[in-house]
Symmetry: C2
């Protein structure tokens, strides 16, 4: 059960095709590609419909091989947790494998394995997803199993308390033993002054320690209702078959709640630049990060998110980017350097910079060099040529990403979970093509302000004052 510590970048492609060579701030961030059927004419015909109980179903045909990707997405993530219950979304994701009225603890996974399937699950700030890769002949059984745990989960203290230790071990491995993750937690907590995105997806350790059955059941009953779920089936299967099977399985699950529109506390206008400085004995190479609070695809004005997508790539996506060329190749101030935009989130999100000093340079040198590139950008802007090149690169990555059935399924599930429509996804290349250099300059000038930012330094331990 993979925890997704970062939010899905709704339409960002940088990492999907293995493009990004520079170490990325959020290494497990899975940016997702889009179907750009409209422009590149290679995308599959995606169909979406709703069951009577409100569950959305998306079917993505792919007949290249006898494989099906089956996913259920819930529109609920860590940012939907009640105060003081951080980690419950992710803990519940683990508990979904603990058995139902008719299946035993672990039986879900053993049956998936028995039918030759592969499975995983993930929790983000805005959604929780469960997926399996199976052969088409067992889709009916797979859907019955997944629909069963949507309404029949049975939790007992005997089963779930040990799983809390598993979750804590996961936190230890990913966060407590990883200074970079600890710094990221502290930076994100400093960036978000009011919004729950400031709370880590896996939860604060001390709060996870006291999560219990009632907390899990309350979250399950509130959010794991079919009208809050999206089924995505991609692969070697016909629409009619999926429709029929979905009605016979998920269609039988009663609505248990009306989660309604998701309203989280929003951010006040940022007033002051913040810095987070962490020293840790386990750090070998220092690293620099800068996060800016910026709009997401869901909160941006028209075209702003697309402009950020281009800005992130142009400025810092890979070894041909401005930052890499300037800091790493030309000036040799840094051994890595880049920028990224995490556009896929329900609420305001992050535009980030990163860099690591070399043997003879410091974090302050890297910061100054990045600030100089930002100042240059704000003063002189981007060129038509750079923007065109970046558009081509982004769209090419989207084409590549279509090759992966599970990536496509993730794109659709993630985007729809965040309120996008099929049309939004399909029109992405067109919207990227429409971005002008002026639009890129405008978002940079509007949002890359120090007072909207948190700067982070991670250093080997020195003596503390």
């Amino acid at each position: 059960m993979t925890l997704r510590r970062s939010r899905t970048a709704l339409f960002s492609l940088a990492l999907v095709a293995g493009f990004s060579v520079a170490p990325h701030y959020q290494s497990d961030h899975w940016s997702t590609a889009t179907a750009q059927a409209a422009e590149e004419k290679i995308g599959p015909k995606v169909t979406s419909f709703f069951l009577a109980n409100g569950m959305q179903v998306v079917v993505i045909p792919d007949h290249r091989a006898p494989v099906v990707t089956h996913m259920v997405w819930y529109r609920a993530g860590s940012a939907d947790e009640p105060p003081g219950k951080s980690g419950i979304a992710h803990y519940l994701e683990h508990l979904m494998f603990k058995g139902t009225k008719t299946t035993a603890n672990g039986e879900f996974s053993s049956r998936v394995a028995a039918i030759g399937g592969q499975e995983n699950a993930f929790t983000s700030t805005d959604y929780t997803g469960y997926f399996q890769r199976i052969t088409p002949d067992v889709l009916a059984e797979m859907m019955a199993l997944e629909a069963d745990r949507m309404e029949n989960l049975v939790l007992t203290d005997e089963l779930i308390i040990p799983e809390r230790d598993v979750v804590q071990e996961e936190r230890n491995a990913r966060t407590e033993n990883n200074p970079g993750s600890l710094l990221r937690e502290a930076m994100v907590a400093a960036l978000y002054q009011n919004h729950p995105y400031g709370i880590p997806i896996i939860g604060w350790q001390h709060e996870v320690n006291s999560l219990n059955k009632d907390d899990a059941i309350a979250f399950y009953d509130k959010f794991y209702t079919p009208n809050n779920a999206i089924l995505v089936v991609a692969g070697d299967v016909e629409l009619d078959v999926v429709k029929d099977l979905a009605e016979k399985t998920y269609g039988k699950v009663a609505r248990r709640a009306e989660p309604g529109k998701r309203m989280r506390p929003s951010e006040p206008p940022p007033r002051a630049a913040r810095r987070v400085e962490m020293e840790d004995a386990r750090v070998r190479t220092p690293s620099f990060q800068r996060l800016y609070l910026v709009p997401s695809y869901n909160t941006a004005e028209d075209g702003e998110a697309e402009a950020f997508e281009i800005l992130g790539e142009l400025l810092g996506g890979g070894s041909t980017s401005r930052l890499y060329k300037s800091l790493v190749i030309d000036q040799k101030i840094a051994t890595s350097g880049g920028s990224w935009y995490q556009g896929g989130s329900l609420d305001d999100t992050i535009f980030g910079f990163y860099g690591a000093p070399g043997q003879d340079t410091t974090l302050a040198d890297v910061e100054a060099a990045i600030d100089k590139e930002i100042a240059k950008l704000l003063a002189s802007g981007v060129t038509e040529k750079e923007v065109e090149r970046t558009k081509n690169r982004l769209i090419k990555q989207a084409v590549f990403s279509q090759d992966s059935q599970s990536t496509l399924a993730r794109i659709y599930g993630g985007s729809l979970s965040l309120g996008a429509t099929i049309e939004d996804i399909e029109s992405w290349p067109k919207r990227i093509r429409a971005v002008t250099p002026e639009a890129v300059n405008a978002v940079a000038r509007k949002y890359l302000k120090k007072k909207r930012s948190v700067t982070g330094y991670l250093s080997p331990e020195k003596k503390q004052g």
Copy 2:
């Protein structure tokens, strides 16, 4: 209706007797004295009892003049607000003057004025209070009026929407037009990563904008119930009279809710030093602040809060303190400098430092000088003599503060709202006397760690990157 932007320092005395000459970080912070009857033998005999509906009553005799201080405290403040509803505690405090089933809008205040009373109200993170200074002959009427609005508040949109503008104007005057307050908001938001103390008492402006009648009534119904209230009557009145009047007024108010134990999301262990840098065109003199997350009287282990009380005073309370002598008098690096402990809060609180550079020095100079004093403290500790002198000073201030009837009433009301007992308040001088230099050194070494801190710089505006 005064907004208390800072929490009451439960037993801290530094400001009560007008002692502190240096500009204080939180200028409207009203630190409160304690009754130290046990030691100094001058305190009044304070009585406390409960009405049948669970309301606590505290009577503090003071027969020097025909004056009575009448206060009602609710154990509910901004940290008890639901997510996204910041400011509702303070907004409700304003709305409590809007009329009841039997009184018109503004009638409460006009009747208090008609009986020759003075009144005010205040909201903190942990409590909300209403008080009047009256003559003894009108106490019955005063109690009837206050008891009436405990259960009979009537709100209409016509009356309350304009009051929201009043609250916003208050925020404009206190915060938006005050760069120091904006910096404080940002620093406190950065200090608290999970706990609602990170949210300003007056509320985030954008959230206050959408508060409505339902939000106010929900908060009122949940918290303004007699079993969540404390009545404090100080002054020229006999216990039996208060008891009789309280039973006839507040005693008739039915319990409407069971707020139970207050459980707020708590802080994760701090991992990284944070900095907040604000530039603002309105700033004339730069200023430096440092906040450390430390235990309060309510969360500290035995004796730690008392040790912090001494540390704050010894290090930075006024012109005889270490910091003032070193930074202002000897080195002439700063024009002000000091430290403070805000011990009175339900959950973990703040130990703070402040300083302002002179004509020829910078914020970095002030910070370095304060850091040097902290390093010296951690390395060499405090002396027996300094600690004794500080104890005497603190206890003397407590004696002075007893002279004010309303201060005494505030001490009792505030402390009891935060979970203290009468005995806790009365034993404070004894507990201060018991603090050893080792205990002071121990809390300094345990808590004055950079990773527990937020450092703030407020500067005149320069060009932003």
